[in-house]
C-alpha cells in the first residue's frame, strides 16, 4: 500500500478524479470536454509508450488505431448498432487483425525503416477512410448520440463519460504496468537493448514484438471508440500522419518508457495547446521552442523532471 501511495501516478489519478467536481465551478461542458479529450489521448499515448518506450518500436502510424476504433463506432451506428459492447468487440478484433498483418511486415525492418513502414500502413488506412464515401469520406460522419451501454443511455452524461474514460485509463495503466513487470515485459526490454543476445538465449524477438504491437493497437482502438463518443463525430482526420506524429511527441515529451510519463505528456500537450491558443493567435511560436527545449534538456521529458524533483526531496538513491 505504501509503495502504491509513493507512485506519482496514483496521485495523478486522484487529481484527475476530482476534475469533474472542479469543472462544476466553471464552464462545465467545455472543461469536461477538454479533460475527456485529454484523457482519451492519454490512453492512446500510453498504448504507444508500450511499444515505443519498452520495445523501442517508434510507430509512426499509431493514429490508424484511433481511426479503427472510431470507425467501428461510426459504421456500426450507421447500420443501427449503437451497443458499445459490440462496437468495442469489433474495434478490438479489427485492431488485432490490422496490427498483426502490418507488424508482420514492419517488424522485418528496424530503426527509421520501421518508422517509415508503419507510416506507410497508417497512410494507406487514412486514404482508405477518405475514399469511403458511404461513410462521409473526409467530411466524416456525425453520430446521433453516444453509444449505448447494455441498452442504457448511460454515456450520454458528460460526467459519466469522463469517469468511464478515466476508469479505462487507470485499468490500462495498471495492466500495462503488470505486463511490463512480467517476464514478457522483461524480454521486450531485453530485445530493445540487445536483440542478438536475446536470440542467443532463445527468445525470438519477432514474436514478442508482434504481441506487444497487437496489445498496443488494441488499447489505442479502445481510445478511438471513446474518442468517437466524446466528439460525436468520426472522420479520417483522426488517422493522419500528423496525428501519429503528435502521439509520438506526447510520449517523448512526457518521458519515454515510464508509462505515466506518456499520460502526463498527453495532458501537458493538449492542455498547453488549449491554454496557449486562447492567449494568442501565434501560440505555435511558443509551443515549438518549448518542445525544442524539452528535447535539448535531455532530462527524460516531464517524467524525468518529476523524478529528479522527487529524488531531491527524498534524498535517497535512484528510484
Amino acid at each position: 500500500m505504501k509503495r502504491t501511495l509513493r507512485s506519482p501516478a496514483v496521485w495523478l489519478f486522484l487529481a484527475l478524479a476530482l476534475v469533474p467536481l472542479a469543472a462544476k465551478l466553471g464552464a462545465e461542458g467545455y472543461l469536461l470536454s477538454l479533460a475527456t479529450r485529454a484523457l482519451i489521448f492519454a490512453i492512446a499515448a500510453l498504448s504507444l509508450d508500450l511499444i515505443l518506450g519498452y520495445g523501442a518500436l517508434a510507430s509512426f502510424g499509431h493514429a490508424a488505431f484511433l481511426g479503427i476504433g472510431s470507425y467501428a463506432v461510426g459504421i456500426l451506428a450507421a447500420h443501427g448498432t449503437g451497443e458499445i459492447v459490440l462496437q468495442l468487440a469489433v474495434a478490438m478484433v479489427a485492431a488485432i487483425l490490422f496490427a498483426a498483418a502490418t507488424s508482420a511486415v514492419s517488424l522485418r525492418t528496424s530503426g527509421v525503416y520501421y518508422i517509415m513502414s508503419t507510416l506507410a500502413f497508417g497512410q494507406m488506412l487514412y486514404f482508405l477512410g477518405v475514399s469511403l464515401s458511404a461513410y462521409g469520406g473526409d467530411d466524416g460522419m456525425s453520430l446521433a448520440g453516444r453509444s449505448r451501454v447494455l441498452g442504457t443511455a448511460f454515456l450520454e452524461s458528460d460526467g459519466a463519460l469522463y469517469y468511464v474514460v478515466l476508469g479505462v485509463l487507470v485499468a490500462f495503466y495498471a495492466g500495462a504496468r503488470r505486463i511490463m513487470g512480467s517476464r514478457f515485459g522483461r524480454v521486450l526490454s531485453g530485445i530493445r537493448e540487445n536483440p542478438v543476445r536475446m536470440r542467443a538465449i532463445g527468445f525470438e524477438p519477432f514474436r514478442y514484438q508482434l504481441v506487444a504491437c497487437v496489445i498496443a493497437g488494441c488499447m489505442c482502438a479502445v481510445a478511438g471508440v471513446l474518442l468517437a463518443n466524446q466528439t460525436g463525430f468520426v472522420s479520417p482526420a483522426y488517422m493522419t500522419w500528423q496525428r501519429s506524429g503528435e502521439l509520438m511527441v506526447m510520449v517523448i515529451l512526457g518521458g519515454i518508457g515510464t508509462l505515466w510519463g506518456a499520460i502526463l505528456g498527453a495532458l501537458a500537450f493538449l492542455v498547453l495547446e488549449e491554454v496557449l491558443s486562447g492567449l494568442t493567435e501565434h501560440w505555435k511560436l511558443i509551443l515549438g521552442p518549448l518542445l525544442v527545449m524539452v528535447a535539448l534538456s535531455g532530462r527524460g521529458g516531464i517524467a524525468g523532471v518529476v523524478a529528479r524533483v522527487q529524488r531531491l526531496f527524498h534524498g535517497r538513491g535512484v528510484r
Partner: protein, 306 residues
C-alpha cells in the same frame, strides 16, 4: 493511348523524380553521415522557397534572387546547427524527432507571420520561360527541362563529390564509423557542420528553383517531407545513388499510376469500379511500393550500413 502520350508521361515521371531527388539528397546525406533524423528538412525547403520569393521580388531578377538565396539558406542552416542540432548528435533518435517537430511548428508559424498566409508566386526567369511542343496541343516549359538537367547534374556532381574528393571520402568514412574518423585526427564536429550546412543549402536550393512552378505557402514542406522520407528509405539511407534511383522510381510510379491506372483497371473491371478503385489506390501507390521494397530489402535498395 498514343506512344506520344506515354512518352510525355514518362518524361513527367522523370521530372517529378528528379525534383524529389534534389530534396532527398540533402536529407539522406545528413541522415547517413550524422545518424540524425532531420524532420526540419521540409521547412528548410520551404524557407528556401520563401527566401527566393523575397529576393526575386526585391531584386527583380530571378538569377540574382537565386544567388542571394543560396548563402542565406546555408547561413540559416548553420544557425540551426549551432543553436539546436549540434547538441542532438549521438542522442536518441526520438529526442531529435521531438526537437525537429518543434522546429517545424515554429517555422511554419513564423513564415506566416513574416510573409502572410496567402500563397506567393515567383515569376519564371525570362531566359527559361519558353516552351517546347511535345505533342499536339501540349507545350512543355523549358524551365522544367532545365530542372531535369539541374537535377541530373546535381546527382552526378554529388556522387563525384562523395566518391572522388577528400571531403567525400571523409563523409563516407564518417557515415561508417564517426568515432574512428575522429580518432584518426579529423575534426568530426567541423565535418558534421559542413555536411549539415550543405544539406540545408541543397534543401533551400530545391525550394528556390521549384518556386516558379509550384506555389509558395506555409506548410508546403510538410507533405513533401513524408515523400522525401519514403524516397530515402526506399533508396537506402545515406546512399546518394539509392536516393536517385528511388526518387526516379517513386516519380515514375506515382505519375504513371495516376495517368494510366484507371485505364489499366478498366481492362479488369467495369468502368465505374475501375475509376473508384483507381482513385482510392492512386495516393497509396508509393506507400505500397515502399512496403514492398522494405519487405524484400529491409534496409532499402542500396544500404550504406550493413
Amino acid at each position: 493511348m498514343s506512344t506520344a502520350l506515354l512518352l510525355v508521361q514518362v518524361l513527367n515521371g522523370l521530372q517529378l523524380g528528379v525534383l524529389l531527388f534534389l530534396i532527398a539528397a540533402g536529407l539522406t546525406l545528413v541522415f547517413g553521415v550524422m545518424d540524425f533524423i532531420n524532420l526540419a528538412h521540409g521547412v528548410q525547403y520551404m524557407i528556401g522557397a520563401y527566401l527566393a520569393a523575397m529576393f526575386v521580388a526585391w531584386t527583380g531578377s530571378f538569377w540574382l534572387g537565386l544567388a542571394l538565396t543560396l548563402p542565406t539558406a546555408l547561413a540559416f542552416g548553420l544557425l540551426l546547427e549551432v543553436l539546436i542540432f549540434r547538441r542532438l548528435y549521438g542522442r536518441d533518435h526520438l529526442d531529435q524527432v521531438l526537437a525537429t517537430f518543434g522546429l517545424i511548428i515554429f517555422l511554419n508559424q513564423a513564415v506566416k507571420v513574416l510573409w502572410g498566409a496567402a500563397p506567393l508566386s515567383v515569376p519564371m526567369p525570362e531566359l527559361l520561360s519558353g516552351s517546347v511542343r511535345l505533342m499536339d496541343g501540349l507545350l512543355y516549359p523549358v524551365y522544367r527541362l532545365a530542372l531535369i538537367t539541374v537535377g541530373l547534374c546535381s546527382a552526378l556532381g554529388l556522387s563525384l563529390l562523395i566518391s572522388k574528393t577528400r571531403v567525400g571520402m571523409l563523409v563516407r568514412a564518417g557515415a561508417s564509423n564517426a568515432p574512428m574518423v575522429s580518432a584518426l585526427g579529423v575534426d568530426i564536429g567541423r565535418l558534421f557542420m559542413i555536411v549539415f550546412g550543405f544539406g540545408a543549402m541543397l534543401a533551400g536550393f530545391a525550394g528556390a528553383i521549384v518556386a516558379p512552378i509550384l506555389s509558395v505557402e506555409p506548410g508546403m514542406g510538410d507533405n513533401l517531407l513524408i515523400l522525401t522520407f519514403v524516397v530515402i528509405v526506399i533508396g537506402g539511407i545515406g546512399s546518394i545513388r539509392g536516393a536517385f534511383i528511388a526518387a526516379l522510381l517513386v516519380g515514375l510510379i506515382d505519375t504513371l499510376g495516376r495517368a494510366f491506372g484507371p485505364q489499366l483497371l478498366r481492362l479488369m473491371m467495369e468502368p465505374a469500379a475501375a475509376n473508384q478503385t483507381g482513385r482510392s489506390l492512386a495516393p497509396m501507390l508509393i506507400y505500397i511500393l515502399m512496403a514492398a521494397v522494405l519487405f524484400f530489402r529491409p534496409s532499402g535498395l542500396f544500404p550504406v550500413r550493413q
